[in-house]
């Protein structure tokens, strides 16, 4: 089953067409990497499917449930209540972590499950401790975000997203704010999640990581998907000139 299906998505800011016509489907257990030069619209696309931005055209559905459908050429969002349910199907990990600075690590992870999903405190604590252990942060539950390194903060952010038990996880350049040695910590976690068949959509600049982990690589430029396919095809034998130029720049 396709967990995410978007068709002909368009988005513009004032006169600038950032997304021209994006269609994409992500199957359960798939790991999709989105590559592309800055300004190509990949972050905007992630924000649109995370519903932090509204789209100007096209349709989107999550786990078979329609969130936006196109009527008379205009996108129509379903009711607020339906959207609330749909939003629980995915999680988003930000480039800048966006942890709550006044909450301890444990409270960052348990607060939403308790207050939004209405889990019991014991259940939320149990999940949170398991997740922290998995992230290699078992001893950091009582720390505040400012006491942690960037890589540790991002792992807490991933644990916070996972605690909501989403069907899929979106990552918006999860390693861009980190030093190279901290980047490795995060990639290790993502590899582990991939091996557990977590459905993921990752905007990234890490070519090697994209090649080794993804089932599908998407190359975006100028608001359109230029090329998509298996990583060995898109990354190692790109058919499009723009893809080639981009990959060449990264190698240099």
């Amino acid at each position: 089953m396709d967990l995410l299906e978007v068709k002909n998505v368009k988005k513009s800011f004032d006169e600038l067409n950032v997304l021209k016509d994006i269609s994409l489907s992500v199957a359960e257990g798939e790991v999709v990497s989105i590559l592309g030069p800055s300004g190509s619209g990949k972050s905007t696309f992630l924000r649109c499917i995370s519903m932090l931005e509204t789209i100007d055209g096209g349709s989107m559905s999550y786990c078979g449930k329609t969130a936006v459908k196109e009527e008379n050429g205009k996108p129509v969002y379903v009711s607020k209540r339906e959207l609330t349910d749909i939003k629980h199907t995915f999680g988003l990990v930000f480039q800048n972590f966006n942890l709550f600075p006044h909450y301890s690590v444990l409270k960052n992870i348990t607060d939403a499950p308790i207050n939004v999903l209405r889990q019991s405190k014991e259940e939320a604590m149990k999940t949170a401790n398991e997740l922290l252990k998995k992230m290699g942060l078992a001893d950091k539950g009582g720390y505040y975000p400012y006491q942690l390194s960037g890589g540790q903060q991002q792992r807490v952010a991933i644990a916070r997203a996972l605690a909501m038990k989403p069907k899929m996880l979106f990552f918006d350049e999860p390693t861009s704010a980190l030093d190279p040695e901290l980047t490795a910590e995060i990639l290790k976690v993502l590899r582990e999640l991939a091996s557990e068949k977590m459905t993921m959509l990752i905007v990234t600049h890490e070519i090697d990581f994209a090649r080794s982990v993804s089932n599908k690589v998407i190359f975006m430029d100028g608001g359109v998907i230029v090329e998509q396919g298996r990583p060995e095809d898109v990354i190692d034998n790109p058919s499009n000139d723009r893809t080639r130029a981009f990959l060449k720049k990264l190698e240099a």
């Binding site: 995370s50 519903m51 932090l52 609330t84 939003k87 629980h88 999680g91 988003l92 930000f94 800048n96 966006n98 942890l99 709550f100 600075p101 006044h102 909450y103 607060d111 939403a112 207050n115 939004v116 999903l117 505040y144 975000p145 400012y146 916070r160 997203a161 909501m164």
Partner: protein, 499 residues
């Protein structure tokens, strides 16, 4: 050593004798200025007329004395509460302004009395108060440090007057007579006790809305007050006044001001220079001052705490309105904030206190004075707090809101759980500033004659003729603020658990 003291004394004595004997010679030698201090809101003795000139019976007398002596007259309107400081620092030479001698005999060097005056009671024309006994249980206004106040509470007050004052519900001190009449009209006080000369003038000027009771509270005399010990200048003025009496000028001037029935200057009254009473020791003065000030400390604290209690939450609501997406609401709140920040708090207090009567004709009561102080302060501080909250809310990064949205928090959860604690940390330094200003601003309650500490300090300073109470008040505000700063510092440290 002794010579250094004696020589100037002899010299000044010589100058004094010379100047007494040959006033014309001295006037020719140099143009001396004679500075008269007076309360500019005390008609007909001294006030500002329609053309903006300071005029009045006393000022006319002073002018005539100066003309005869060849002095230049300087008219200095003073704050009545500060008259002793003005005199002591030499910024005025005398107080000449319907100045009651009775009860103050030993505090100044006096001329002989020139006006016989009585204290009378003014009530509204439709009032049910017809005699002094009817004042029982009523609120009566007197000017701060006026002879009416002295007649009721002074050390030399007649027992019957003290008894009368004790029958009042309260004796309210006000800053000036205009404010007293506004209080009377709006119902905040039931009666005003004042000098008969002033009362006659005010009744004339204000039409038939007010009446004077036939029964008088006490009678008293006016004199010209000089700094205690300044007999030289006093003797000069006294001599010229008596000259004016002899050639009829004095009575002419009195007739000009409609005071011909009140004047009493004569040759038989003796100058009273001998102190019959010992000066109070510093310890006694301190005891009196502290006893008075302590009464005001509670009032200042009450203003401070109640203002914070109401304005901190109200400010949050106002900042919500300011940031509201409903345009008319946000415009209205913006207007409110701009008016509150653009006008003096003192004026806002006056509007809150007198507004109900003068705008809507609602009679207020004596209790309303305190409520008006709290309402005025709360409305004012809430506007400032609202802008501080707004700055604190806007400083919370957008990413925090996005994280909340992705996690599925509701709008109110987002605000109260995530935004507010971060906002609070952001604004503590600004709040500390505002709270410290509030401590000092409590003194502005004097604008509507609320007896908080600074108002009392000024009153005690006037009645005890010393600036000590003001100094003690300053120390009090400093300590109060040190405590506030310490507490806020503690809160700031507590909020440092996150960054």
């Amino acid at each position: 050593m002794l010579i250094r003291k004696i020589v100037p004394a002899l010299t000044s004595a010589a100058v004094m004798i010379l100047s007494l004997s040959f006033p014309l010679i001295q006037a020719a030698a140099e143009q001396k200025t004679f500075t008269v201090g007076f309360d500019a809101e005390f008609p007909p003795y001294g006030y500002k007329d329609e053309s903006g000139e300071y005029v009045g019976f006393d000022l006319s007398l002073a002018q005539e004395v100066c003309n005869r002596r060849g002095w230049e007259l300087k008219k200095v309107p003073i704050d009545w509460n500060s008259k002793d400081m003005e005199l002591k620092t030499g910024s005025i030479d005398c107080i000449w302004n319907g100045f009651t001698m009775n009860g103050r005999e030993n505090d100044y060097t006096w001329s002989t009395p020139y006006v016989d005056n009585s204290q009378v009671v003014i009530v509204k024309a439709d009032s049910d108060i017809n005699e002094l006994a009817d004042l029982s249980g009523k609120t009566v206004a007197v000017q701060a440090d006026s002879s009416a106040l002295a007649a009721f509470t002074g050390e030399d007050a007649e027992p019957e007057n003290i008894e009368l004052a004790e029958s009042f519900k309260s004796l309210q001190q006000v800053g000036d007579y205009n404010s007293a009449f506004m209080n009377l009209e709006s119902g905040a006080v039931n009666a005003i006790c004042m000098d008969i000369g002033v009362a006659n003038y005010e009744l004339d000027a204000r039409g038939g809305k007010f009446v004077m009771l036939d029964e008088h509270v006490s009678s008293e005399q006016y004199g010209v007050g000089f700094l205690k010990g300044n007999t030289g200048l006093r003797d000069e003025v006294q001599t010229t006044l008596l000259e004016m009496l002899d050639d009829g000028t004095f009575n002419e001037i009195a007739a000009d001001w409609g005071l011909e029935d009140s004047v009493c200057l004569n040759h038989t009254d003796k100058l009273t220079d001998e102190s019959s009473k010992a000066e109070k020791t510093l310890g006694e003065k301190l005891a009196v001052i502290c006893k008075e000030l302590v009464k005001g400390v509670g009032a200042s604290l009450a203003i401070f705490l109640l203002t914070l209690l109401f304005s901190l939450p109200l400010g949050l609501i106002i900042s919500m309105g300011r940031m509201s997406k409903i345009k008319p609401l946000s415009w209205l709140v913006k207007l409110y904030i701009s008016v509150v920040r653009g006008t003096p708090l003192m004026l806002q207090l006056l509007v809150v206190f007198f507004g109900p009567y003068y705008l809507f004709g609602i009679q207020t009561s004596a209790h309303y004075r305190f409520y008006a102080v709290i309402i005025g302060f709360t409305l004012n501080y809430a506007a400032y707090f609202a802008e501080i909250y707004r700055s604190g809310i806007q400083a919370v990064p957008k990413g925090q809101y996005e994280a909340c949205e992705i996690l599925g928090y509701s709008k109110s959860q987002t605000f109260f759980k995530i935004v507010m604690p971060q906002m609070f940390k952001n604004i503590i330094p600004s709040i500390t500033n505002e709270v410290i200003t509030l401590v000092k601003d409590t003194s502005l309650a004097f604008a509507i004659s609320y007896a908080e500490m600074f108002t009392l300090a000024k009153q005690v300073a006037a009645s005890e003729a010393t600036i000590l109470p003001l100094f003690i008040a300053g120390v009090f505000y400093y300590i109060f603020n040190a405590v506030v700063a310490f507490a806020m510092d503690h809160i700031e440290k507590k909020m440092n658990y996150f960054r």
